[in-house]
């Protein structure tokens, strides 16, 4: 088990190294960073000083090692546009994005699993068919359109919910949260739904398909022959077997929720990392772009690792094969 975790951790570091190379090469291919910093009338001598102070005159491998060593300590350099350390900027924005992503994922999981289980167990009811139809809409409508529709309905027409921003936030150390104020919670509703809707429909369809599959298996038939209650069969035996693939998908989707929050954050002007990234792209602020790339891949890789470990918790068969392999 430990060996398995270690092996996966080493793989994760390998992936991060590769991403680091890509992030680093962005500096090389997106023009001369010095030009982004200085103004047009800066003299060549001054440019040389800036170049030297940023270490840009060192050989490329040296720069790369330095960049990677700094990145490993969460030092991503200074933003060209804000003239602040990128790490500080990201840290300021991260709580907003993570809170949104977690709310969206919880929303997607809870409703996705409930609707999926319902439409598998009561396959022929009107409600189950309605869920299926709605899930098609969720899968096919683009995120920004859903966001705009929600804003139009609930913010503009009905005036129930705010159309942008996080509302009032409370500081808890370096973390800021909108979960403790009414306006913060209200502001979370629409972005969470917008961001989580695709995941919800995905999970719902997955749960439904898996559950139908599991209900056909021999051990469910045998559970029925043993006279277990329908409740025990559906929720004790079938659901747990259903959740194995759901964990993977939901886990991997959490990474893309964070990555796709760029669109939702833009639509709702949500002060998170995604919005920061979009602004960075507009201003060719490469340190932020590179750092964002690294952060998102770190989150992805971490989630993958956690999902792999979670697997063995849920499925005892993997526990022993993993044990045997190590």
């Amino acid at each position: 088990m430990l060996a398995f975790t270690l092996r996966r951790a080493v793989q994760a570091i390998g992936v991060m190294f590769a991403v680091g190379i890509i992030a680093f090469s962005m500096f090389r291919f997106a023009g001369d960073p010095v030009n982004q910093i200085v103004s047009i009338d800066t003299s060549a001598a001054e440019r040389a000083i800036v170049r030297k102070s940023l270490g840009l005159d060192d050989p490329v491998p040296v720069q790369f090692v330095r960049y990677f060593a700094d990145a490993a300590q969460f030092k991503f350099g200074v933003s060209y546009q804000f003239r602040q350390p990128v790490a500080t900027l990201l840290m300021e924005r991260m709580p907003a994005t993570l809170e949104l992503a977690i709310c969206a994922t919880v929303f997607a999981m809870v409703f996705g699993i409930l609707m999926g289980v319902y439409s598998a167990l009561k396959r022929d009811t009107v409600l189950a068919k309605l869920f299926q139809a709605v899930s098609l809409i969720g899968i096919s409508l683009p995120t920004f359109l859903i966001g705009i529709l929600l804003i139009y309905l609930f913010a503009v027409t009905l005036g129930w919910l705010p159309s942008f921003g996080r509302g009032e936030v409370v500081k808890l150390g370096w973390w800021t949260t909108g979960l403790l104020t009414v306006s913060g919670l209200k502001a979370l509703i629409m972005p969470s739904i917008t961001l989580g809707l695709f995941q919800m429909t995905l999970i719902m369809r997955l749960v439904r398909a898996e559950m139908l599959e599991v209900l056909r298996t021999d051990y469910i038939r045998f559970a029925r022959a043993r006279g277990l209650t329908t409740r025990a069969i559906h929720f004790g035996h079938a659901l747990r077997n259903t959740l194995i693939p759901v964990i993977t998908v939901a886990g991997l989707q959490f990474g893309s929720v964070i990555a796709f929050s760029i669109i939702t954050e833009t639509v709702f002007q949500w002060p998170g990392m995604g919005l920061l990234f979009v602004q960075a792209v507009q201003n060719v602020d490469i340190p932020i772009m590179a750092a964002y790339l690294l952060m998102v891949s770190l989150i992805f890789v971490t989630i993958n690792l956690v999902v792999d470990i979670l697997y063995t918790v849920v499925d005892p068969r993997l526990r022993s094969t993993v044990g045997r392999a190590s």
Binding site: Y219, R221, A223, G227, L228, H237, R317, S320
Partner: protein, 328 residues
Amino acid sequence: MTEPVLSVRDLHVEFASRRGTLRAIDGVSFDIAKGEVLGVVGESGAGKSVTGLAVIGLIDPPGRIAGGEIRLAGLRIDNLPPEELRRIRGKRIGMIFQDPLTSLNPLYKVGDQIVETIRTHLNLSEQAARRRAIDLLAEVGIPAPEKRIDGYPHEFSGGMRQRVVIALAICAEPELIIADEPTTALDVSVQAQIISLIKRLGRDHGTAVMLVTHDMGVIAETSDRVAVMYAGRVAEIGPVQDVVKNPLHPYAKGLMGAIPTLAGEDKRLVQIPGSMPRLSAIPRGCSFNPRCAFAFDRCRVERPEPLPRGTQSVACHLYDDVPAESVV
């Protein structure tokens, strides 16, 4: 005679399909007495398994019991509401399925699955149920049951898993066990162990057993009586010795003739020509008539009803009003 544990009368099971209703079981009747093992034998699709599933009430839509009666110790169970039927399943009727590798939920320890079943049916505490589960595992011949009870299904071999399945089937002391091809998926050496285990359990507890299989060898070793099924009907039923030594129905004769004997002379085994009709194309009259060497006009028009013939009962026109000597 005391009341049979299981009494099936004129059972009909139908499956609704796009091309009309298919009749999988067409008027099957039989009894199983306390402590008796009834072997049910026949080709694939003869309706053996469906009969077992009908008895335990697990025919799923689009299938349904379309007629007849099933009585468990006198109580009619084919028309019980689902919840009452569930209480009988596992408690009064235990079931063993064909494939032990897939019968157990892979995510739960075998002990938890046994305890869960025991506590569903018997009013026992967690500890008492666990002790009983260990006793059951010991009874079905699992070594070191107090250790193995915390194992997961994948840690057991096929034969051991089938023993666990049997322990699950008998955990509430059922009056009837339905074993649906319990040995088909196992190694030959393990088959014999499982068969003798089922036989011993039936004897020790006085449990009636309905043993569904296509293996005549298993039937001959285990059963007291045997029912030969063909195309959803019982062709012949009787004590196993009589049916094996002196089969009456032409189909049963064909089946017995197809068993190789160790001591037998060096002759070709009998082969029944053709194959069993599909459910959608059961011939008129006797369903066996197109394959039967003795078929005559009446067989193509009229369906034969079961006729008592000594200890046996046979559904064949050959035995209707004709002295037995003249046909054999």
